[in-house]
């Protein structure tokens, strides 16, 4: 049978002017372009991507989605993000493969259980389902778990969060690109933004290696590269450190892990993909850098950590390992701001290793922000000014502190 392939998004020539230019064809950039074009009638929009869409964290993440954060500011955003997957799957007419398997956060100390009690209660206050379970219940849910006192950090219990799970990350990239293109947005791959033009305190355009573009609005959604762009092109430094984070998958196995399982104490999380591989991610590398290098250190670390609480994985082979960049802020929450330091300049970055799950909802509100010029309530807590006022968000609590400092 003749099979005709059709591109999901159109190739367009680079125009000399757009109503909005988005730097970065990652999750946040594409989502914002989609909602600008679809909901706000701003279809004269360009997404400028240095390499190819999904080159950054968008194509490298481990695809975990959840809404069991700790703070009042974060929870509503992540709750809405979870609700959006089925809606977008329909709207984009693209299977995003939301696998609603639920997340199990393992705890190995009374202190961690106590901290989780606050997370659970805060979630419940916002109508988000999470509850604490003891070790026996963990074992009933995931029989492969070792709940004996053999591991260095025995399992005391867990926070079970049924609404979370896994979404196919590449599908989100392609689906959003398809949707944005369908509503008129242009996607320019292989094009690098090299300058931002400011005239009388307002954004006037951007320079790219393929030519200049006039525009009154620019969104910096360049993921891990956002802070470098902001400081190099606008002289506006950000409270960000860029670190590598590595992930890997094992050979495919018969089904044994029907939830996302994570352990802060072991710096390790894992889930079984629909193909059967165990996908697992680790703690971040301790050095800021812009490479995507992997190290033997983490292969050993993951093998040790995983086989502590899932001893049946001993001897299983890792098939692939890769690295990506995480733009970390000091309080594990993103920086979302607009018209700072110049009018028409918007920023959505600092998403570290947790910006996949939030990408679509942030794009939705970011688009409104850019179309109306006023910051939607839900995004207000993430303004850069919180660091000046020393009102950092308490997203880390007694959980492991994922900063470049440890």
């Amino acid at each position: 049978m003749a099979h005709k392939t059709k591109r999901l998004w159109k190739y367009q020539p680079l125009k000399s002017s757009y109503d909005a230019v988005i730097i970065g064809g990652g999750l946040h950039g594409l989502a914002t372009a989609y909602f600008l074009a679809k909901k706000h009638g701003l279809s004269n929009v360009a997404v400028i991507e240095k390499r190819y869409i999904g080159f950054g964290g968008a194509g490298r993440n481990t695809a975990i989605v959840r809404a069991n954060q700790r703070t009042q500011e974060n929870l509503p955003l992540y709750r809405e993000a979870l609700q959006l997957w089925p809606v977008l799957t329909k709207e984009l007419d693209f299977n995003l493969m939301f696998h609603n398997c639920g997340n199990l956060n393992l705890f190995h100390s009374e202190a961690a259980m106590k901290a989780a009690r606050l997370n659970t209660a805060s979630g419940q206050f916002h109508g988000i389902k999470s509850h604490l379970i003891d070790a026996e219940e963990c074992k009933r849910m995931v029989p492969a778990l070792d709940i004996s006192d053999r591991p260095r950090y025995p399992i005391l219990g867990a926070m079970y969060h049924p609404p979370g799970g896994i979404v196919r990350h590449d599908a989100v990239v392609w689906g959003l690109a398809k949707g944005a293109s369908k509503h008129g947005a242009h996607i320019h791959q292989g094009t690098e933004v090299t300058g931002i033009e400011v005239y009388k305190g307002k954004v006037a355009g951007v320079h790219t290696d393929k030519g200049k573009i006039k525009t009154p609005r620019v969104l910096n959604a360049a993921g891990a590269y956002s802070a470098d762009i902001s400081s190099r092109l606008l002289g506006a430094k950000l409270p960000i450190s860029v670190l590598t984070i590595q992930a890997m998958v094992t050979q495919p196995l018969k089904p044994l892990l029907n939830h996302v399982v994570s352990s802060g104490a072991y710096h390790c999380y894992a889930n079984q993909t629909l193909k059967g591989e165990i996908a697992t991610g680790a703690h971040m590398d301790p050095w800021p850098n812009y490479t995507n290098e992997t190290t033997a250190h983490y292969i050993k670390h993951q093998a040790e950590a995983l086989t502590e609480f899932l001893p049946c994985l001993a001897g299983v082979k890792f098939m692939r390992i890769w690295g990506g960049l995480a733009d970390m802020t000091p309080d594990m929450a993103p920086i979302i701001d607009g018209n700072e330091p110049v009018e028409g300049y918007y920023i959505d970055c600092g998403w570290g290793y947790f910006g996949f799950k939030s990408s679509t909802v942030t794009g939705k509100y970011m688009a409104r922000y850019m179309a109306e010029g006023r910051c939607p309530e839900i995004l207000k807590p993430f303004a850069l000014s919180r660091f000046k006022e020393h009102r950092l968000m308490g997203e880390t609590a007694a959980l492991v502190n994922y900063t470049p400092d440890n």
């Binding site: 590269y225 802070a227 470098d228 400081s231 190099r232 430094k237 950000l238 409270p239 960000i240 450190s241 860029v242 590598t244 301790p286 050095w287 800021p288 850098n289 812009y290 490479t291 290098e293 190290t295 250190h297 000091p330 660091f387 000046k388 006022e389 020393h390 470049p404 400092d405 440890n406």
Partner: protein
Amino acid sequence: MSRTITCPVCGRRNGYEFRFGGEDKGPRPEEEGMSPEKWFEYTHLNDCKAGIRKEWWFHRDGCGVWFTIFRDTASNREVVRPPERELEAVP
């Protein structure tokens, strides 16, 4: 080559023995004339430069000394102190 960092006391050691201590931002600002803005800049803001920069490290699993090195964040490797003229942008 593996990722190593040169401790002034112990010499070149595996990078995972060390803890990163931040970009070198010069001396801590004086208390006199201190403002929230200045403190914010000193404590939180980073250049995040892709290239050679000077930074602080701590030999955590070693002798415990704090020191500065030059490192290229684009290659993730320690480099020798670059010649002055290339150093312009490095604090």
